[in-house]
Amino acid sequence: MDLQSFFNMGGYAQYVWPAYGLTALVLLWNWWAARRSETEAQTAAQRRNELARERST
């Protein structure tokens, strides 16, 4: 099995690779969006806490 024929996918390259690429893209988007949703909430919570602490002192 050489690389050339692997990338060629028996002539189906123009279908197989976009499908896998799109899958990678959607998985990456989910990864990014989920991470962001969590870290955003974390920084917001932290800021609230700091503000509350400043106010109490």
């Binding site: 197989v16 998985l27 969006a33 919570a45 806490n49």
Partner: protein, 242 residues
């Protein structure tokens, strides 16, 4: 049993447990998806009819499976939240929806790409693609309803009712679309249905599905942690935690 359940459903507990679980889900899913991709793209034999084109199955079928799995998870979470008034369940439903919608989109897109070499067109009103499209509409409606409320509690409960109505409807939609396509299409176009699958072809499929499941677990954990923080922002445990 019930005290254990309530403890688990308490936000600080869930927040901590999800944080501990997420990395395991994440790394395991990465490993499985990589193994399955290699197996599916390199090691599995080509289909005698569809050649290497059938390898799209390894991303199409798992995403189609996840799109339905996520909808059921969402509806069950919504039902639990509605009946027992558990906030965490509503938060979970909210976390699942965008992930499920993205898998539905992926199933549609890969199905369409697969359809091009098999049918000669990008889109065919095939039973599976049509059901998947309607499922996407259901997800979009659910998220639109949730987004249109300012009060998160109302958004939770209203969208939960919708999710339950939707989950009753999903089998009806599925059946009606199946019935509709069998009436309109001759049976010869079902090449996509069953590429005479051998065991050697199935193994990477199952690995990929397992990888997608774990990935789903990871993404839900992360999003759910975010949801918990947003909903609990005035709670005491948060102040003590940081």
């Amino acid at each position: 049993m019930w005290t254990w359940f309530h403890k688990l459903a308490s936000p600080p507990h869930a927040y901590r447990i999800l944080g501990n679980l997420a990395p395991w889900f994440g790394w395991a899913s990465l490993a499985l998806i990589l193994v399955a991709s290699w197996w599916g793209l390199v090691k599995a034999p080509a289909d005698y009819q569809q050649g290497d084109g059938f390898r799209i199955l390894y991303v199409h079928a798992p995403s189609a499976w996840m799109s339905m799995f996520a909808y059921v998870v969402m509806a069950v979470a919504a039902g639990v939240g509605l009946v027992w008034r558990i906030k965490l369940a509503h938060a979970a439903a909210a976390a699942v929806a965008p992930i499920g919608a993205s898998f539905t989109f992926l199933a549609l897109a890969t199905g369409s790409i697969w359809g091009k070499p098999m049918w000669g067109t990008w889109w065919v009103w095939d039973a599976r693609l049509t059901s998947e499209l309607l499922l996407l509409f259901l997800y979009l409606g659910y998220m639109a309803l949730r987004a249109s409320f300012d009060d998160p509690q109302r958004a939770d409960r209203a969208s939960a009712v919708l999710a339950l109505v939707g989950v009753i409807n999903v089998p009806i939609i599925h059946y009606s679309v199946d019935w509709w396509t069998t009436l309109h299409q001759p049976a010869s176009v079902t090449k996509l249905d069953k590429p005479s699958i051998q065991i050697a072809m199935l193994i990477p499929l199952f690995i990929m599905i397992a990888g997608f499941q774990l990935y789903f677990g990871w993404a839900v954990s992360r999003r759910l942690r975010g949801e918990i923080l947003r909903r609990e922002r005035n709670a005491n445990w948060l102040k003590e935690a940081s």
